[in-house]
């Protein structure tokens, strides 16, 4: 859409959408809603950071249950994870070269869930959502009000830039939303610019006099507003870090943290290698809302599809870095499932509740009048994924160019922080993922046999 200079597509209509069995959909919704409304009293937001610290120091990890995350979402929204993620090593700091040792609890306290919630005037629900993780917040400055900044936005404009000024984050979220620009890409591109400035690749003359240093919130605001207006250095950076690095030269690409030109979100593959794999294998690269090992744990798909690998309730963290067929099957299941979820208009946070609690497949059967097993819908997801991959290849896009920057996958590994010493066996994990889909393990090209099996034509016609 960006290439077509298209910001959005709006569809409107007055006809009611018919479904096969409205009563059954309602019955299923009421069952699901019982889980959504389950909300015990919980820890104060200030404790979240210490939970993250505990998760960092323990050698073992509990399989994540999405019901727990739902409780956090309902109370604070996605910002519930702000401090916890920094502490446990999930959120990248200082353009992916830092850690909680650089941006510790005293810094991340500025974006504590309770600190953000203090601004919240009323909850905001997306269409038809019983959870309502969003919010409308009061803020200082000329706008006065904004949507509650999401986790990704807060950390991309906060920890990634070492910025502790919460008001600047509120302001920038509103500025970027109004411009139709992505907060993750904007934050990551500013992080790239700051590191270029630190390395002497960009000078004060290049930055129109801005002192681009870590945590300098005034300079960060000025730079992003220049990007929105495509003014001076802002014009150079407005197309993202990959394009800017190409124009700057001088090995600036070493500081551009992207996958296939897409700036990376605030989830560190060195903490959960599943993210690293999905950043590289998805036909639209750099996505954090498709799969991860933690997502697989929360989807609980094995409870409705016995052929999928089960997750142990407690395991050693080292297990996450072992590249084996089970991890590939988990990653492939996430991709297939999220294609179904996205096509059905469901929400990823909703399906985190677990397959037994949120009846996605049963809803689809009730809506369509089909009586298909979950495996049938997963095959639809597989077909979508393969079609997207085939489209890229037909357009001359090489999936192998989607590898994230070396720093992001632990090459070289960090020497301090939660993710010290960790790197991802991307070669094997990517190759195993391609194999799961029946794509060529080296090139990622869907084979003719796979295309035919999925009813996508005779290979070469499409690819």
């Amino acid at each position: 859409m960006g290439a077509k200079r298209l910001k959005a597509v709006v569809l409107d209509g007055k006809k009611r959408i018919g479904v096969h069995n409205r009563a059954e959909i309602k019955r299923l919704s009421q069952l699901c809603n019982k889980w959504v409304q389950f909300q015990p009293l919980f820890l104060p937001g200030s404790m979240a950071a210490y939970v993250g610290t505990l998760m960092r120091v323990l050698p073992t990890q509990m399989a994540m249950d999405g019901l727990l995350y739902k409780i956090l979402l309902k109370k604070w929204g996605t910002g519930s994870m702000n401090q916890m993620s920094v502490e446990m090593g999930d959120s990248p700091i200082k353009n992916w070269k830092g850690s909680s040792e650089d941006w510790g609890i005293t810094h991340s306290r500025s974006v504590n869930p309770d600190a953000i919630r203090k601004h919240e005037k009323v909850k905001y629900h997306c269409y038809a959502c019983p959870l309502g993780c969003g919010g409308i917040c009061a803020m200082q400055g000329k706008y006065g009000e904004t949507h509650k900044p999401e986790y990704e936005s807060v950390l991309a404009l906060g920890g990634l830039l070492m910025n502790t000024d919460l008001e600047s984050i509120f302001h920038l979220c509103e500025v970027l939303n109004r411009a139709g620009m992505d907060t993750i890409s904007a934050g990551a591109t500013v992080a790239f610019a700051i590191e270029c400035y630190e390395a002497g690749i960009l000078t004060k003359e290049d930055t129109d006099g801005l002192e681009l240093t870590w945590g300098n919130s005034n300079a960060i605001i000025a730079l992003i507003e220049k990007m929105v207006r495509r003014e001076g250095i802002g014009d150079l950076l407005a197309d993202g870090s990959k394009a800017a690095a190409r124009k700057i030269g001088k090995n600036a690409g070493n500081y551009a943290m992207h996958a296939g030109g897409q700036e990376l979100p605030m989830h560190d593959g060195r903490n959960d290698p599943g993210y690293g794999v999905h950043y590289a294998v998805e036909p639209a690269p750099g996505r954090h809302n498709v799969g991860a090992q933690m997502y697989y744990e929360m989807f609980q798909l094995w409870k409705v599809m016995k052929s999928l690998p089960r997750v142990k309730p407690l395991y050693f963290k080292g297990r996450k870095y072992v590249a084996d067929e089970e991890k590939a099957a988990m990653a492939a299941a996430c991709s297939k499932f999220m294609n179904v979820v996205n096509c059905a208009g469901l929400c990823m946070f909703g399906v985190f509740l677990g397959a037994k609690r949120i009846p996605a497949f049963d809803w689809l059967n009730a809506a369509t009048g089909w009586h298909r097993p979950p495996e049938h819908y997963m095959e639809i997801g597989e077909r979508i994924q393969t079609l997207k991959q085939a489209f890229n290849i037909r357009q001359g896009v090489d999936p192998r160019t989607f590898w994230p920057a070396g720093r992001v996958i632990g090459r070289p590994p960090q020497t301090k922080g939660a993710n010290r010493g960790r790197s991802i066996n991307m070669e094997k994990m990517i190759s195993d993922y391609y194999t799961q889909f029946g794509w060529d393990p080296e090139t990622g090209r869907p084979t003719e046999k796979t295309m035919a099996r999925l009813g996508l034509g005779a290979g070469e016609d499409v690819v």
Binding site: K14, S29, Q30, N33, Q37, V122, Y127, G135
Partner: protein, 138 residues
């Protein structure tokens, strides 16, 4: 399936003026007709027809009711989960979401913002996934 206008229509135009999706066509004092593909089956035309010239999708002749007798939605905030489906379902946009209910409850709840617009169709009640909306006669 849609509502229909039969040939005893006197062309008063009351149904055409009320129809929320402009699905009724006809000149003043001539037989009106429902454009079937556009009809959303809200039944408003049947409730305002003074000569009982409208039939519902089952062929039953509709009875005129005074506007003050039309059913109106009642919202149970103890059951409501603030999803907003009722607001989106309303074809005349007469519902709205309130501000935060209280300092302890940051959720907004649906309420009748423009009562005069309500056509008593009951879509809000039918679409509510948790039956928090009921249609009540005044």
């Amino acid at each position: 399936m849609s509502y229909r206008i039969i040939d005893i229509c006197n062309g008063c135009g009351a149904c055409r003026r009320l129809c929320p999706v402009d699905a009724i066509r006809g000149e003043k004092n001539t037989l009106h007709a429902v454009v079937h593909d556009m009809c959303i089956e809200c039944g408003a035309c049947g409730r305002v027809c003074p000569v009982r010239a409208v039939t519902d999708p089952f062929g039953t002749v509709c009875t005129m009711l005074k506007k003050s007798e039309w059913e109106r939605p009642h919202f149970d905030s103890k059951i409501c989960m603030s999803c907003g489906i009722c607001i989106d379902a309303c074809p005349v946009h007469c519902l709205s979401l309130s501000g935060a209910a209280s300092s302890n409850d940051p959720h907004g709840y649906p309420y009748m913002a423009e009562g005069k617009k309500c056509i008593g169709c009951g879509f809000c009640a039918r679409e509510c996934p948790v039956d928090a909306v009921t249609m009540v006669a005044p």
